[in-house]
């Protein structure tokens, strides 16, 4: 709770500072680039010829050039497949010039503008990677959060255990857990703590989310087996966005986002504050049992009674942007915390009435970025963070257990909590992260980038209730270095290719018990290294038909826990190898303006994954011990399709579907009593993983309804997941198999904005058909819910 108090103090100071600091000056050219059909164009080159200054447009088609000297300039706007425009402008000192461009599609022969300065073509577009980038631009008035945004991405499925704040499993093409790495503005979120739950990050704090399928560019510097997700928070220099939403289950979400930048000095303050609260007291169908454990009533509709959740996060950065010494030099601090009441165990048959989990994180950050450092064409950036996260599991109520009516029964035990032996386990995680990126642009065709990522992780565990637990006295630390080198060659104006290599080095330190005797604890250290490599290429067969292919030999290094166990029943395996996977993607994207008003986009990505040495915990049958082993092998063959249609700015329709056939390919399995034996599941579909799912979105947007500068919108969202088995589909009779049923959910929202989006109000009905939906094993999720959102944007 101390964290929360701190956050609110910070919130009030920060908001006061922001509100009083909304002013700008100095010579700036900004504007927006759209196509003739009115679509925002992203990645358009905007060059101020005389000054070697340039930029590319963001997802909204917007651009901004700062520090323009007084005088006449030539502004060149070019984009592949569109006719280049050149405009003469003259600008006075401190003038703020806004120029918008409408680009016409070019006819058969593509023209290419000869780019002179190096900075203009420096933006290495990740187009060749299988990346799905989702802009939150059209979602800012919705009550959505990062989790809902990501769940609409092809290949992604998020399995959630309950309502706001509950645990979830993120899966990307079947890869789960730490096989997929998360980043916040390029900083690894591996040990950020539970308050960075994706459901806690509202759309208003996010500019866009990039999802890399299988092949991860070197600049993220990580060992990701199945891909990476990078959440980019708002990067604008001057804005203010305040929103508040409330709705069903007493859910409240407040978000304050803003930035102030003095264009003369480059001094900037920016950040966001988010608060989430919910009782999560939605109705579920549950079993009611008596003190003896007998079933009294089945399928009784009861309200969840111990599932309150609250979280708060403040992120503040200050420093300088667009100065001579740095394009960006920001010192930041993230403070975050959450309190989570736990209602159920792994299934709804286990009901808790007192278990809680709390976490608090403090994360100082440093960002530095400079183009043309020392000499032209040499760019450098450095991201560093140190996170201190404390997590407490509180299961200290002994002697009773609950049923779904909230009634308690005596257990007559003084040392058993609800989850087993009563505990107050505290975990202190400390992690230092740094990401150094250097790149050099030889000329317009060749560029080279280097990345070095360093991570040092340390965990201390302590249980106030059980002081004698030896494992809590054993140190656990892990140091990881990842080096990446990438070379990009622009073969022709339509064809680019990148090749890259990554080197991984790992050092893990801990202690291990040699025998059953605590005194035999000895320090152990393991070093490991490996090399990965890959390529990505993109070819425009036609100006609107792009082919993409990418491959990576990907690795995920074992964690300290996997290497060394817990010093007790999870035994060490110092011979553990990293997980590895061959990941292939092949994509086709086609987009066309059918005419001035109709725009269509169709895309398809084929994926192939061949993952080996997958680590899992080998449980033994004849002993209480287990250890990690490299035994699993899987193969995934999948295809994702996307479709989008837009009519003017008024109507849009999009849909995506993912089919992935992930099969178990291990020849052998290991168990303690018979050693290595034949894997009876070889060739069978990997269970408990959705294999067919998709979604659709339709929206209407009407301008100037009931007044000038107003906007009325309506959106509809549909999600579908085919039923799947909890266990192997090969064994057991179908009528007794555990099935996660087919699910579909429908949501709709309606909103209205006035004064060019300054004041906004929207209402959302989520899962309005009230379909029972489940994830994990029959953990029921909220039914129909309504939310109202108010937003002020400057």
């Amino acid at each position: 709770m101390r964290g929360l108090v701190f956050l609110f103090t910070a919130l009030s100071i920060f908001s006061t500072a922001l509100l009083s600091a909304q002013s700008t000056n100095s010579a700036v050219i900004s504007g927006q680039v759209t196509s003739a059909s009115g679509n925002d164009l992203e990645g358009v080159n905007v060059i101020l010829e005389s000054e070697f200054k340039g930029t590319t447009t963001d997802v909204n088609g917007s651009f901004q050039l700062n520090d323009i000297s007084e005088g006449t300039h030539k502004l060149i706007v070019s984009y592949l497949g569109y006719q280049t425009q050149v405009k003469e402008i003259s600008i006075n000192n401190a003038e703020k010039l806004e120029i918008n461009f409408v680009l016409e599609e070019s006819s058969a022969e593509l023209e290419e503008v000869e780019l002179t300065g190096k900075s203009e073509i420096r933006k290495i577009n990740e187009q060749a990677y299988a990346v799905t980038s989702i802009s939150t631009k059209s979602l800012l008035n919705s009550t959505a959060d990062a989790q809902q945004v990501l769940d609409r991405v092809p290949g992604v499925r998020i399995l959630q255990e309950g309502g706001l704040g509950s645990n979830y499993t993120f899966s990307l093409n079947g890869f789960k857990g730490n096989q997929v790495k998360f980043f916040l503005n390029g900083i690894p979120m591996d040990s950020f703590g539970s308050s960075f739950n994706l459901g806690n990050i509202p759309v208003n704090s996010i500019e866009r989310v990039d999802v890399y399928n299988g092949v991860v560019p070197v600049w993220l510097g990580t060992d990701a087996l199945g891909g990476a997700v990078n959440i980019i928070t708002n990067q604008k220099n001057d804005y203010l966005d305040v929103s508040y939403s409330f709705g069903s289950f007493n859910t409240h979400k407040a978000s304050l986002n803003g930035a102030y930048t003095n264009n003369k000095s480059g001094f900037t303050v920016r950040g966001n504050l988010n608060y989430n609260y919910s009782d999560n007291n939605y109705d579920v169908l549950a079993e009611i049992r008596d003190a003896n454990g007998n079933l009294l009533e089945d399928n009784v509709e009861v309200e969840r009674f111990h599932d309150q959740y609250q979280s708060a996060t403040a992120q503040v950065e200050t420093g300088f942007v667009e100065t001579s010494f740095a394009d960006q030099l920001l010192l930041g601090l993230i403070v975050s915390g959450d309190d989570d009441e736990v209602q159920t165990g792994a299934t709804m048959r286990t009901v808790y009435g007192a278990v809680e989990v709390e976490s608090e994180s403090v994360i100082p950050t440093l960002k530095y970025k400079k183009q043309n450092l020392f000499f032209e064409g040499f760019d450098a950036s450095l991201n560093a963070s140190y996170n201190i996260t404390q997590t407490r599991n509180i299961d200290t109520l002994t002697g009773v257990r609950y049923n779904w009516y909230g009634e308690t029964f005596e257990t007559n035990s003084e040392n058993n909590g609800e989850q087993g032996l009563a505990n107050l386990l505290e975990q202190d995680d400390n992690e230092f992260n740094s990401q150094l990126n250097l790149s050099y642009l030889f000329n317009e065709k060749h560029s080279l980038s280097f990345n070095h990522a360093f991570q040092h992780f340390k965990r201390d565990e302590f249980d106030e209730v059980n002081l004698s637990v030896n494992e809590y006295y054993l140190p656990k630390s892990l140091a990881k270095n990842v080096f990446g080198l990438s070379y990009k060659y622009k073969i022709s104006k339509d064809w680019t290719a990148s090749v890259f290599g990554k080197a991984y080095a790992l050092n893990v330190k801990t202690s291990e018990q040699e025998t059953n005797n605590v005194e035999s604890t000895i320090p152990v250290s393991v070093d490991y290294s490996d090399f990965g490599y890959g390529m990505a290429t993109s070819y425009f067969l036609l100006k609107n038909l792009q082919l993409k292919a990418s491959y990576e030999k990907a690795f995920r290094l074992p964690t300290a826990g996997e290497f060394f166990g817990d010093g007790l029943v999870v035994l060490a395996n110092p011979n553990l190898k990293p997980e590895q996977s061959d990941n292939f993607n092949f994509g086709i994207n086609f987009n066309k303006d059918l005419n001035r008003n109709n725009h269509i986009e169709v895309g398809s990505t084929f994926i192939y994954r061949n993952a080996k040495n997958l680590i899992y915990n080998i449980v033994s049958v004849s002993s209480p011990t287990s250890r990690s082993g490299n035994l699993a092998e899987t193969k995934a063959l999948g295809v994702q399709g996307t479709f989008a249609y837009r009519w003017k700015d008024i109507f849009n329709l999009s849909a995506n579907i993912t089919y992935q056939d992930i099969t178990d390919e291990a020849d052998l399995i290991y168990n303690d009593f018979s050693g290595y034996t034949e894997n009876l599941n070889k060739g069978a579909r990997v269970p408990n993983t959705p294999y067919l799912f998709g979604g659709a979105t339709a929206g209407f947007n009407f301008k100037n309804v009931g007044g000038d500068d107003t906007n009325l919108f309506f959106n509809y969202y549909y999600r579908f997941t085919q039923e799947y088995f909890l266990t192997s589909d090969r064994f057991g009779s179908i009528d007794t198999k555990a099935i996660i049923p087919q699910q579909s959910s429908h949501s709709a929202e309606i909103g209205y904005s006035i004064k060019k989006g300054k004041y906004n109000v929207s209402v959302e009905a989520r899962n309005f058909t009230d379909e029972a939906s489940y994830d994990k094993f029959r953990l029921q999720k909220p039914g129909r819910a309504f939310y109202l959102k108010l937003r002020y944007n400057l």
């Binding site: 087993g420 086709i588 449980v619």
Partner: protein, 405 residues
């Protein structure tokens, strides 16, 4: 633009579009079109199949032929994901376990079909379930880190709990780490054998005597702990075979202190003690020096209809046993009264499952399953001639239950 390239790209664009249609057909073809199956047979088996993530799923099936072919759970069998232990009592198989909570489900044959009954749920795992009389089963739940042990009485017809009795461990010992090893109900007493193992390290530091707690039955009130220092503790980790009862009501208590079954130390010889029918103390005149007779230590025993026992004997000296290995075992027919051991021929030395012994008797044959290099096989043992015949291969990671209906 080159025309052939254009045609190619057009074809690609079309194929991308057609994909969307392909998806819709895929989504329909995967529906469950198999009907409800009815499976019956003379024999039953509960197979455990390990999945890629290391977890196990259990399938209980009925078969008619055990001696040839392959026994499989492909497309058949009652599925139970989680952790389970199976116990056959009369013609019913009781599964004890679950995904998260613990349930007791009765699996029996009804009109030639396997069917499930029962819906009870407990927060902690059950260590064992034994028959008290025709209308009562008694379960015990005990965990080395708990301060209580819990008895429950079941009505076997409704598979419901009629009574729950919690006993404070402190009533009969000050030691922490009470671990289950065997339970028998004889006349008006319940006998519970246990050993002490550290809840954190599983180290066994109290191995100087056998201890059996005696409770009144049906009241389930604690009466006394009987001890005997001729041997170490009774039973071992998860074998649930520490106490066995013969037809006359005599109870035999088996001590081995085997590292292969979880003992980190041993301070007493192996051996078998006896509690005579109707009594609540060890018979001081009875001692079966199994190591002397069989050159091994007895780990599992199961009563045969003629009063002898089918037993699994670890033939390795304690010092040479691999910790937790439950190996190497040899099968034998043992007479506890005459103190004779006859090893069964034609069965290779094998590892146990580290769990309750599975197998059953039919006529003068005893059936078990043996894990071998090239698979798990059924063996039919002639209990008169002490020979064995290899039967069907079983497609499973291990066998959790093997029964005759």
């Amino acid at each position: 633009m080159n025309k052939s390239i254009f045609n190619f790209s057009k074809a690609l664009a079309l194929s991308a579009l057609s994909l969307l249609f392909v998806f819709s057909t895929v989504s329909c073809s995967d529906s469950d079109d198999e009907g409800v199956s009815c499976q019956g047979g003379d024999y039953g088996m509960s197979l455990a199949i390990q999945s890629t993530d290391g977890s196990y799923t259990y399938y209980t099936l009925a078969y008619n032929n055990l001696m040839s072919g392959t026994l499989t759970a492909q497309g058949q069998g009652i599925e139970q994901p989680g952790y389970y232990d199976f116990k056959a009592i009369d013609n019913t198989i009781y599964s004890l376990g679950g995904l998260d909570d613990v349930n007791v489900v009765a699996i029996s044959q009804d009109n030639g079909c396997l069917s499930q009954a029962g819906d009870v749920s407990f927060p902690n795992s059950l260590s064992d379930l034994v028959k008290a009389d025709n209308n009562t089963l008694v379960s015990v739940a005990m965990s080395s880190d708990s301060d209580i042990i819990t008895f429950r009485k079941f009505n076997p017809n409704t598979v419901s709990v009629t009574e729950t009795v919690d006993i404070q461990v402190s009533e009969f010992t000050d030691l922490v780490g009470l671990s289950y090893s065997g339970m028998v109900i004889s006349d008006d007493h319940l006998f519970l054998s246990y050993y002490i193992s550290d809840p954190e390290t599983f180290a066994t530091t109290h191995t100087d005597q056998a201890e059996v707690a005696v409770f009144s039955y049906p009241e389930l009130e604690f009466q006394e702990v009987i001890t005997d220092d001729r041997v170490g503790p009774i039973g071992g980790f998860n074998t649930k075979s520490g106490l066995v009862k013969d037809q006359a009501g005599n109870i035999y208590a088996i001590s081995h202190s085997n590292p292969a079954n979880g003992y980190s130390q041993s301070t007493k010889p192996a051996g078998i003690l006896k509690i005579n029918a109707g009594e609540t103390s060890f018979d001081e005149d009875y001692f079966f020096d199994i190591n002397d007779v069989a050159n091994g230590t007895m780990v599992y025993a199961k009563l045969l209809s003629d009063g002898r026992f089918f037993a699994e004997i670890n033939t390795e000296a304690r010092a040479n046993q691999a910790m937790w290995s439950d190996s190497p075992l040899e099968s034998a027919i043992v007479n506890f009264e005459a103190q004779t051991v006859n090893y069964v021929q034609n069965i290779p030395a094998h590892a146990g499952d580290g769990r309750r012994l599975v197998g059953f008797e039919e006529d003068s044959n005893y059936y078990i399953t043996i894990p071998e290099e090239d698979g798990i096989f059924v063996y039919q043992i002639d209990t008169q001639n002490y020979t064995a015949t290899q039967g069907a291969e079983v497609q499973a990671s291990f066998i959790a239950g093997f029964y005759k209906f």
